[in-house]
Structure formats: structure tokens, C-alpha cells
């Protein structure tokens, strides 16, 4: 059976835990703690180690879904989890103070995942406040990383079909890239 390990990264409050709960076909392993930074993001709990879920995307293909904490003080968990991942869904809440800067910061932090597999970006909470458009994000990413192809979607992390579309786009990118690399090395 083929397996992919996919990370869900992004700032606190972007909806990473919700996205994994939406997608997972098993009970999600959660590591939530009472959030003392209510002035930063007003939610009761926050992930302090990881979230873990699983989904079968075909009879022979399992995807392991790992969510990382959004706060930089937990970056040791980023290091641990990105070592085993082949791709990343980067979630950024559009109502954050400077969501494009956040997106670029996380892309840089997890750049090895793009080199190894692929990245798809989901903009959450785009319906609750005005903010940059999908095109704004794409243009900013293209400016800084002209060599990267990062599909950008608006997503409601509670919506199963939207999250599945983002996930399948990432899986297809990873597999296409892998096949291309394999063909390239065979032809060489």
C-alpha cells in the first residue's frame, strides 16, 4: 500500500485542526491545551504538539495527515514532522494582520517540502473579512519564489469537498512530480 505523509501548517487560528478533523476517516489524535493567548487568537484551545488523522484516497493509497502547531515557539515540532512529510497544505486565515507575509514566512520555513514533494495553499476565513485575493497570494508567491508552482484555493476548512479537492490536488502534484523525476532519470 502506498502512503503519503502530508503536513498541515500555517499560523494559529488558520483551521489546521479543523481541516484534519474534516478529512480524517479515523478519530483524530489531538494535543490541545488551554490557549492563554486569547488576545492574539480568541479560541479556547490550541494545538501544542500535533494533530493526526488518516484518509484512504484509493483502495491502495493511504494519506497520513499531520497538523503542526502554528506558533513559532513550537518550531521543534515543525522540524520533527517535516522530516517525514512529502507535501504540505499551507493554511492561512485571510483575516490575519498580514496574511501574505505569513504565507511567505511559512513557505520559507517549510521550503524543503516543496523541493521534496509539493505545496498547496488554502486561504481560510476569506468570507469573514476583506483581505487579499487568491491572485494577490499567487502573485506574491511568484515574486518571491518564481520557480515554485503553488496552487492557491480559498477554503472553508469545515467543508469536506473543498478540503478533499485541496488534498487531491497536492497528491496529484506529488505523484506527477515523482513520475516526471523517475522518467527523467530513466531517460537520462
Amino acid at each position: 500500500m502506498a502512503e503519503h505523509v502530508i503536513l498541515f501548517a500555517g499560523p494559529m487560528g488558520a483551521g489546521k485542526t479543523t481541516a484534519i478533523q474534516t478529512l480524517s476517516e479515523i478519530d483524530v489524535v489531538l494535543t490541545e491545551a488551554a490557549n492563554t493567548e486569547r488576545d492574539v487568537v480568541d479560541k479556547a484551545t490550541t494545538t501544542v504538539a500535533l494533530d493526526y488523522g488518516e484518509i484512504m484516497v484509493s483502495d491502495e493509497e493511504k494519506v497520513r495527515l499531520y497538523g503542526v502547531p502554528g506558533q513559532r515557539r513550537f518550531d521543534f515540532m515543525w522540524e520533527i514532522l517535516k522530516e517525514r512529510a512529502v507535501g504540505m497544505i499551507l493554511l492561512v486565515n485571510n483575516d490575519a494582520a498580514d496574511p501574505i507575509a505569513l504565507a511567505l514566512e511559512f513557505l520559507e520555513e517549510f521550503s524543503e517540502l516543496n523541493n521534496r514533494g509539493g505545496v498547496v495553499m488554502g486561504i481560510s476565513r476569506s468570507d469573514v473579512a476583506g483581505g487579499p485575493s487568491v491572485d494577490d497570494y499567487s502573485a506574491a508567491i511568484r515574486d518571491v519564489y518564481p520557480e515554485l508552482v503553488v496552487p492557491v484555493f480559498t477554503v472553508d476548512t469545515r467543508n469536506s469537498s473543498q478540503m478533499r479537492l485541496a488534498l487531491m490536488t497536492l497528491i496529484m502534484n506529488i505523484e506527477a512530480r515523482s513520475a516526471f523525476t523517475l522518467n527523467g532519470s530513466t531517460a537520462a
Partner: protein, 135 residues
């Protein structure tokens, strides 16, 4: 919105007192900290060379992971965590009834039993100080 523990001066003062007493009870205590569940240091023993903020974050993740394992295995709640190394122990446990964790590093000249006993007493004392009516 209540003041978080790591910014509440009364809690910080109580935590400092508990850790100072803990060190007096156990000379092999190398480092100790009280931290919030979400990884903010409330107070740590002074003169430590440990990076307190980083240790608080790691302790918070460890605590949450041990809780998750206990939950997954339907074994109740995680009472304490021990990391045993060649040069000592890291011992960690929750402060009863509070969203706080005590994390302590003991040298290898300490017995695990004593380290555990002192850590439990200190966590219990912190709990009582934070909620004297329940004592």
C-alpha cells in the same frame, strides 16, 4: 478575559516560592519550571543555563502527547512523564486542578523515587496555593 498564569504576578510569586523550596529539598535539582499548558514559562529556577522558553514549549508538547497516548490507550490520565538519561532524569507532571505543568531536571545522583516524591509534593503545594479554599 482573565489574566494568563504567566502574566499573573500572584501566580508567578507563588510558583517562585514553590520552586525555591523544591531546590532546598533536593540539591540534585538542576532545573525546574512551572509552565502553562500551552507552553509559556510562568517561572523557572534562577541561574539556570537552560533556555526556559524553549523548554517550556517542549514540556507542553510532551505533556499533551503523553495525555494523548493515555487517552488513546484508554488508560485514564497521564500522571507523570519520566525521561531517564545517563546524566539524570526529566520528570514532569501536572499541577492538580490547574492548567499548569511542573517540569524538573534532576542529576544522576538522585533516586527516581525521591525525585518523584519531591515533584509531586511541589505540584500539590502549587495547587493549594492557587486554590486555598479547596485545601
Amino acid at each position: 478575559m482573565s489574566v494568563p498564569a504567566h502574566k499573573d504576578q500572584a501566580i508567578i510569586d507563588n510558583a517562585a516560592m514553590v520552586l525555591t523550596e523544591m531546590r532546598a529539598l533536593c540539591k540534585s535539582l538542576v532545573y525546574a519550571a512551572l509552565l502553562t499548558d500551552d507552553g509559556f514559562e510562568v517561572v523557572s529556577l534562577p541561574n539556570s543555563r537552560t533556555d526556559g522558553s524553549r523548554m517550556a514549549s517542549m514540556a507542553s508538547s510532551m505533556q499533551a502527547l503523553s495525555d494523548a497516548v493515555a487517552r488513546e490507550l484508554k488508560m485514564g490520565t497521564s500522571e507523570y512523564i519520566i525521561i531517564a538519561t545517563q546524566s539524570g532524569y526529566v520528570l514532569q507532571l501536572r499541577v492538580p486542578t490547574q492548567s499548569l505543568v511542573l517540569s524538573a531536571l534532576f542529576g544522576d545522583d538522585e533516586t527516581l523515587g525521591k525525585a518523584l516524591s519531591i515533584s509531586r509534593l511541589s505540584a500539590q503545594k502549587m495547587s493549594v496555593l492557587m486554590n486555598p479554599d479547596a485545601a
